[in-house]
Symmetry: C2
Subunit: 282 residues, 2 copies
DNA sequence: AGGCCTGATACCCCACCGGTATCACCGGTA
DNA sequence: TACCGGTGATACCGGTGGGGTATCAGGCCT
């Protein structure tokens, strides 16, 4: 199955074999054997190249899930065996430090607390980390991250702010609307790749990592609308202006549905208690 | 991994080997090898028997998920290859016939409709069927069924009714409350097994299948609170009385998160359109 | 002390996986 | 049209490993 996925991704037996660090003939045979065992043709080998059949497409997505599940089993088991099973929490680099720090501190103060490793990842990568067992729980942001397939607990809901250069006219406003920021010619909003790795059309710069975006913001080349608590990116030469009608962003803890270990349950409970306390402060 | 799960479930190498239709020694070796590869002790072989270590417990749940995912890949791929990929819909035997029939009929009337196989299953079995690929979509009932890990679309929300023998005093009431039905000495509510196969305490009869329950209802030995549309179980000698403060039950379509095939998307859209039409009727 | 039941070990054999060498086929090109 | 580059398939071979049987080691009963 791993072999099939490699071939399906490369659409080329030679390159796939190279990636798998093996020779091409056994790879061909292995895929043929998989097809024979399933009784299904997964790849159509036309002259000049390979393409997926519809069954092959199903197999590709299902096989990825299955392989991730196997990886997850291995990783989580290893983790459960070693050093009193620390939890691994995945979070985007841009997420609020203060929020996370407070949460981790309150959790660490609990009697039965286990160690929590923080795993920084790129945007949109959390799902994958949870699925293949590299992480146990992630900080995510609704409505940006799709929560499908995950259980979650809300931590904080807040408005969003626009980050603009201090010298820009918009910086003098005390508040903005989406209409104000969506079509600023000299500060186009950056474009992220879609799931198929193509970019949506538009004037903004193409970015695929947080650091790229940070760079562009620092240069004053793009405008950013982010949750109010995500202040990590605020340079002195930039100003944060509330965007009144931006959809509120909810920060939440998310974990694979059904995999609520005792340690995780405690963390979630801490978060919920913290949230209550936070509300009381407001 | 399959071997480990068998041993972990039986907690006995001999019986596990028998179940796997193989001899005991290779099974022992295979499990040892898995432990060596993971670098983790999964089973503690004490004198007289086998028990799971904590790492073994994680492995058991993760391995089950992984094996199900592999099964799902095989099943869904096979299905995708054969007969223009029919959808398989899983539903409890007790769910409303009329609702399902209307839904299937409206879907079948659509131009691009594929065939839909209906798979009847026991209560609580739908998750498993979706997970291991025997079904693509299921009819479930919130709040009874936990939707974690699944995407879903609501079809219908309705109140619940109590099914009581026509001769019983409660049958003469035009409506009831939960307090009325929760503590009727001669009609105790049946008890279902929990996930660990033990039964909650209480006076009611223990049941583990729909047919058992149907039998008890027919005998007038238990009282039942079910969604108003689930009339399949209504015998002439029984009466359905609305229970005003019973939590409303929502019937919904559920499918594994993220696996929304085109055919499934059409079915969901049909359901949602049907729901709108239904509202208009009210 | 001896039988039993358990899981582990010893040893054997064949299937299968991976490697190398080579073929069959197609497309482009001179 | 003949050649060549490139692709995936086939032929064959060797070693690992998974499965089998026979047997051992240790704990618990009688």
């Amino acid at each position: 199955m791993r072999y099939f996925v490699a071939v399906a991704e490369e659409l080329h037996f030679g390159r796939a074999a190279e990636r798998l660090k093996m020779a091409q003939p056994p790879l061909s045979r292995a895929v043929q054997q998989l097809e024979r065992r399933l009784g299904v043709v997964l790849l159509s080998r036309d002259r000049r190249g390979v393409s997926l059949t519809t069954a092959g497409e199903t197999m590709l997505v299902e096989a990825r899930l299955a392989l991730d599940a196997v990886d997850a089993a291995v990783r989580r088991t290893r983790r459960a065996a070693s050093a009193q099973s620390a939890l691994v929490l995945a979070t985007k680099a841009g997420a609020s430090h203060e929020l996370l720090k407070e949460l981790l501190d309150s959790y660490a103060a609990r009697p039965g607390a286990v160690e929590i490793d923080v795993l920084l990842c790129e945007i949109g990568e959390q799902r994958r980390l949870l699925r293949d067992g590299r992480a146990d729980v992630a900080i995510m942001h609704a409505p940006f991250d799709v929560m499908a397939g995950l259980d979650s607990a809300e931590i904080l809901t807040e408005g969003q702010v626009a980050i603009v250069p201090a010298s820009h006219p918009l910086a003098r406003r005390s508040s903005l609307t989406m209409a104000d920021v969506s079509d600023v010619p000299d500060l186009p909003i950056a474009r992220w790749p879609r799931h198929d790795d193509t970019y949506p059309p538009g004037p903004g710069p193409e970015v695929h990592s947080q650091s790229q975006l940070a760079q562009l913001v620092a240069l004053g080349r793009t405008l950013l609308v982010i949750p109010a608590s995500s202040r990590a990116w605020q340079w002195p030469e930039h100003v944060a202006v509330p965007v009144l009608d931006a959809p509120p962003v909810t920060t939440l803890l998310a974990w694979p549905a059904g995999l609520r270990s005792p340690a995780l349950a405690e963390l979630v409970e801490t978060a919920e208690r913290w949230k209550e306390g936070d509300k009381a402060q407001l």
